[in-house]
């Protein structure tokens, strides 16, 4: 069953491409249907789980000679990330309804294929399969930016490709290095996550291998000073591309840090933790100051992502229950609020044909509904209690404070700079008087519903995050206790590689 969590999206992608011949809107409906089916499968797996830290597990040999298997597994953390992916996938399809009018089938093919790659990244527990998925989500996203993007799309897409590909190469080397080190120690070549977890490594090797993973993930996250691909890629991508990039693709970086860097290299990760936390804290402030300086609304939102992801980096390397729960909430809340802000920018661009805030102003009088929604998301972005982002940032800082006080206090100053850029956006885009008289329409029912659902989700996260925290708790337990995890995943009677096709419930 678990294999359908990737399969549905791949099949949906193919169907969407072919269906364009039938009707122009058919790919959109197929994409929605595929995401709905994905959601159905996920829920049925989740509710059917028998308990225990891993909800589902599937392992079949793939390239047996090299110890590569097709190993997928699902825990609480993965479920949350997949739910976020589905939700933002639907939002992305809805957001492109009017914006994408050329090659609709191909667009949705790429969109679903990106999501399939993302699902693979979240599910894969074989490092080779993980790397395969990592690369697989990159290529269709490159096409989304390069084909359907804005003015500087070629520059942005190539920059995105080089940054991700270059850092991915480091990860590939580190994966190979780790597998070889494992073979040297035990005599078997394997890429299985559980087998590699307790590879004995001498400190120097461990550090360099860890660095290979670390760089790949912090480039994706992105953390200062590897963030510069992000503003270009986000700004030039079509709205759906920005939503998926910010909401989901960045999260694969966070997920990689959580799932691989710290559990695989606990010693080396502990060594780099202070530096990583400082990078996070610097990123919070650096991103915020840059966001404030932008006049392109989309670039402002993009830099605000750099700032928010700084909190994630800080929280991951604080590595305690409070901070990690905070990271999960921050991941989900940032996905929703920043995704929503990109949609708002898309709506504004569609109406005014500009993203330049110097030419906006006064939207609050012209389009009160859109302005009210935009205001709400800006406020979520500045971390106001009652909306999800606050819970995430608060828990990260609370957890980080016990580990690295100085870095946490610096990051906390980001609460002030977030107000500065978020209110700048509100002032320049929504308030003031309009520069020129204009007749533009307010959000339609479909648009209001899409954004309204995101508001509702953020309010729910802000007021009652406990269900999310509980769901994440199992996954965080898996990250923190390697020993129990191996037993649980492999089952008591058989070691991982000996069981050819253990299906999840």
């Amino acid at each position: 069953m678990i294999v359908w969590l990737i399969g549905i999206l791949v099949l949906g992608a193919a169907a969407a491409w072919l269906a364009e011949r039938l009707h122009r809107d058919a790919p959109r409906w197929i994409a929605l249907a595929a995401l709905a089916a994905h959601f159905g499968v996920l829920v049925s797996i989740w509710t059917g789980a028998s308990g225990g830290p891993w909800i589902a597990n599937l392992q079949v040999p793939w390239i047996a000679e090299l110890g590569i298997s097709f190993h997928l597994a699902l825990d609480g953390l993965t479920v949350l990330l997949l739910l976020l992916t589905e939700a933002l996938g639907v939002v992305a399809v809805l957001a492109s309804w009017r914006e994408i009018e050329s090659r609709v089938g191909l667009f949705h093919f790429n969109l679903l294929l990106t999501l399939a790659g993302v699902a693979g990244v979240f599910l894969a527990l074989d490092l080779f399969l993980f790397f395969f998925s990592w690369e697989a989500m990159l290529v269709p996203m490159y096409f989304i930016i390069a084909v359907w993007g804005h003015e500087r799309r070629i520059y942005a897409s190539i920059k995105f490709f080089i940054f991700t590909q270059g850092s991915g190469l480091l990860m590939l080397l580190a994966i190979l290095g780790l597998a070889l080190a494992h073979r040297r120690a035990t005599g078997t070549l394997t890429f299985d996550y559980f087998a590699l977890l307790d590879t004995p490594l001498d400190p120097t090797t461990g550090f360099w291998l860890m660095l290979g993973f670390f760089i790949a993930f912090v480039v994706k996250l992105p953390a200062f000073p590897f963030h510069t691909w992000l503003p270009d890629a986000h700004t030039e991508a079509p709205t759906a591309g920005s939503v998926i990039l910010a909401g989901v693709l960045l999260k694969t970086g966070a997920y990689g840090l959580l799932r691989f860097v710290v559990p695989l290299f606990p010693v080396a990760a502990h060594e780099i933790a202070p530096a990583a936390m400082w990078l996070g804290a610097i990123g919070v402030l650096y991103g915020a100051v840059l966001a404030f300086a932008q006049s392109d609304m989309k670039r402002l939102v993009a830099y605000s992502s750099v700032s928010h992801m700084g909190f994630v980096l800080l929280g991951v390397f604080a590595w305690n229950a409070l901070a990690l729960e905070g990271v999960v909430v921050q991941i989900v809340a940032h996905g929703l609020s920043t995704g929503a802000l990109f949609i708002v920018v898309g709506f504004i661009q569609e109406r005014l044909h500009t993203r330049d805030m110097r030419r906006m102003g006064g939207l609050a009088s012209d389009v009160p509904r859109l302005a009210g929604l935009a205001l709400t998301f800006a406020i979520a972005s500045l971390g106001l209690p009652g909306l999800g982002n606050f819970v995430g940032e608060f828990l990260v800082l609370l957890g980080g404070f016990g580990v690295n006080r100085a870095a946490t206090i610096v990051a906390a100053c980001g609460l002030v700079t977030a107000v500065v850029y978020a209110l700048t956006l509100v002032q320049r885009a929504l308030h003031g008087g309009p520069r020129e008289p204009r007749m533009i329409r307010d959000t339609s029912i479909r648009e209001t519903a899409a954004l309204g659902a995101l508001v509702a989700a953020l309010v729910w996260l802000g007021f009652y995050p406990q269900p999310l925290l509980d769901a994440a708790a199992d996954g965080i337990g898996n990250l923190q206790n390697p020993a129990s995890r191996i037993a649980a995943a492999a089952g008591p009677q058989s070691p991982p590689r000996a069981s050819p096709a253990r299906r999840g419930p």
Partner: protein, 631 residues
């Protein structure tokens, strides 16, 4: 009582949600019904709870109600819980009742505004957040309310968003208070890591068990909370936002920036006073900051032209009195002054608004004049409010609360008389600027003809607040005048009286008489200057040193300019300088380097075989040489 305390902040919140969802499309009548009605119901409920609470003697004088568990992670489990004790009871009653009167007033005052629904949405949001703040049982929920009122303040200051100046004032308020808030939340991290909880009662008990008086960590925690309080309550050095906040509609100034929100800092310190007792240095700082702010702001109030700015500086100054009281441990006096101040300052703002709305939104007191015959309702209200602000002896509420503060400061120990002197001088200046406003606005030559008339929605709140501004002080009367202690007795379980130096009540009477005389002198001086127009005074006022000083005071002692130069401009310059991201330029350098290398190497591809042969020969020789050398 059924467990419905949560409805008191809940009802305004529902009002906000309903008005938010209508997106301003609701008819005025419905918006007013929801906006005013939700606060009205909350007020009724608050009084019902007060009646029950005062009748039922609960163990520890506390009623607790948990709405739901907010976050549970291991040992960190703050609940959304509300706590009713005498302190939060007083706060809750003042917030709901004064809030209700101001909402009622706004129903008429804002009637012609196109953003009517939006206005009530924001006001309801504010009341909901403020009630969460005062009723919160733990510091995280308190912080949530604290941020909520900050947001409402931002939205309401910038309510007329078409003018960018209003937006600038709103952002200034939000950013300056957020600086304090960030210190506050770091304080929460520190408290949680040191003491393992954010529950206020447990926290205070554990602090007393764990920390020695004057220990570094206690001082740090208290200082961080103090920074939060300074931002919210517009005290030095985070005070500069308050005068600009007057850009909002007048009912907003009355409710947020006079009666309730700006006193949140006072409430926070009173609520955590046990922590401040463990940090005597910080506590003394509270007193010093209060004393400095009260003098500084009072001087600035002396020569403003804009009536709302006079009142804004006066609010800063009066909160300075409250901080002074908190700093010497006279917590009950601070809360008492909070209450009377809420009555008379809300009254002053509403009366000023009533004047302005009939003069075509005129703010300048020197363009008013002679209004007492033409608008007697506004005049009487403003006069009562100003008398109470000036603390005219015996007949006003402000007299009793200010006297309680000054007596508490006087008898607080070695530094007492010195601090008392600032409050004493402040009382004189307060009387002077209050009656300057009264005399200039309502007496002398009439310059403008008012239009329109008041409906009952405006008159009723003015009447009720006038009554309270006169009689609200009778709940606590000093021993020399009759010795009523209802208010201090009510608060005693939460805010016990500190061991005071027992001085004969004759000293108290002498101190009180001196202050009263000084206040009357201040009123007389204002009379001489603005009614009699005494030549001597004119000459002093127009002399060049006096004018330079006046200019300095007028601009709020140059703090704005100072901050502009040391914070705002460097930040803007930095942001502008790095607008295109220096890090990206480094990667750009990488691109340029590889392009240059590419161009250099391409140049060697000339197609000339002889050159290639030469390169091959040179390369082979070099390789050989290296091989030999390495051997």
């Amino acid at each position: 009582m059924p467990p419905i305390l949560w409805l008191i902040p809940g009802l305004p919140l529902f009002g906000f949600v309903a008005l938010y969802l209508s997106a301003g499309r609701m008819p005025h009548r419905a918006a007013a019904a929801i906006g005013v009605g939700s606060i009205g119901l909350a007020t009724l409920l608050a009084f019902a709870f007060a009646h029950w609470f005062l009748g039922a003697s609960l163990p520890g004088d506390v009623y607790l109600e948990t709405a739901w568990r907010w976050i549970t992670i291991g040992g960190f489990d703050p609940a959304v819980a509300f706590r009713l004790d005498p302190l939060s009871l007083v706060m809750m009653l003042v917030v709901t009742f004064v809030g209700f009167l101001i909402h009622l007033y706004s129903a008429e005052f804002m009637a012609k505004d196109e953003g009517y629904g939006r206005f009530f949405a924001y006001m309801n949001l504010f009341v909901a957040a403020m009630l969460t703040l005062v009723l919160a049982d733990n510091l995280l929920v308190l912080y949530a309310g604290w941020e909520g009122v900050g947001l409402a303040s931002y939205l309401l200051i910038g309510f007329w968003y078409r003018d960018p100046a209003n937006g600038a004032a709103a952002r200034k308020a939000f950013i300056l208070t957020r600086i304090g808030d960030t210190a506050f939340i770091i304080g929460l991290f520190l408290l949680f890591h040191e003491l393992g909880t954010l529950d206020i009662a447990t926290l205070m008990a554990r602090a007393h068990e764990t920390w020695a008086t004057g220990s570094a960590v206690a001082n740090a925690a208290a200082a961080l909370l103090l920074a939060g309080a300074l931002g919210k309550s517009a005290q030095l050095p985070l005070q500069t936002w308050l005068p600009d906040a007057m850009a909002g509609p007048t009912p907003v100034s009355a409710l947020l920036h006079a009666a309730t929100m700006v006193t949140a800092g006072v409430y926070l310190i009173a609520r955590t006073h046990e922590l401040f007792e463990l940090a005597p240095a910080v506590e003394f700082t509270v007193a010093v900051i209060g004393a400095a702010t009260l003098l500084l702001a009072a001087c600035s109030a002396l020569n403003q032209h804009d009536i709302k700015r006079i009142l804004a500086y006066s609010t800063m100054s009066q909160i300075g009195y409250m901080f002074l009281a908190l700093g010497v441990g006279a917590w009950t006096a601070a809360i008492f002054h909070f209450m009377t101040h809420a009555f008379f300052k809300a009254l002053l703002f509403l009366a000023a608004g009533a004047v302005m709305m009939r003069l075509n939104d005129e703010h300048d007191i020197f363009r008013m004049g002679g209004l007492w015959r033409r608008m007697p309702v506004a005049f009487v209200s403003f006069l009562i409010g100003a008398s109470s602000l000036a603390a005219l002896p015996l007949v006003t509420a402000g007299f009793y609360s200010k006297d309680m503060i000054l007596w508490g400061v006087w008898s607080s120990g070695p530094a007492g008389p010195g601090l008392w002197a600032t409050g004493f001088v402040g009382a004189f200046i307060t009387a002077l600027y209050s009656f300057r406003a009264v005399f200039v606005m309502f007496f002398g030559d009439a310059r403008r003809t008012p239009s329109g008339r008041y409906g009952w929605c405006i008159v009723a709140p003015l009447a009720v607040l006038s009554a309270l501004a006169l009689t609200g002080g009778f709940v606590n009367i000093p021993s020399a005048l009759g010795n009523v202690n209802s208010f201090s007795d009510l608060l005693a379980p939460v805010l016990p009286a500190r061991q005071e130096v027992t001085t004969a009540s004759t000293t108290q009477a002498i101190v009180m008489a001196a202050t009263s005389l000084l206040v009357l002198l201040g009123v007389y001086l204002a009379y001489l200057t603005y009614i009699q127009r005494a030549q001597v005074l004119r000459r002093i006022a127009t002399s060049s040193p006096a004018r330079a000083l006046a200019g300095f005071w007028f601009g709020g002692w140059g703090f704005d300019t100072l901050y502009e130069h040391i914070f705002v401009r460097p930040f803007l310059a930095l942001a502008r300088l790095n607008r295109n991201d220096i890090v990206d330029a480094c990667y750009g350098g990488l691109v340029v380097a590889s392009r240059t290398l590419n161009r250099a190497l391409s140049r060697t591809v000339t197609g000339r075989v002889r050159a290639y042969a030469a390169w091959v020969a040179v390369g082979s020789l070099a390789a050989l040489a290296i091989a030999l050398f390495l051997q």
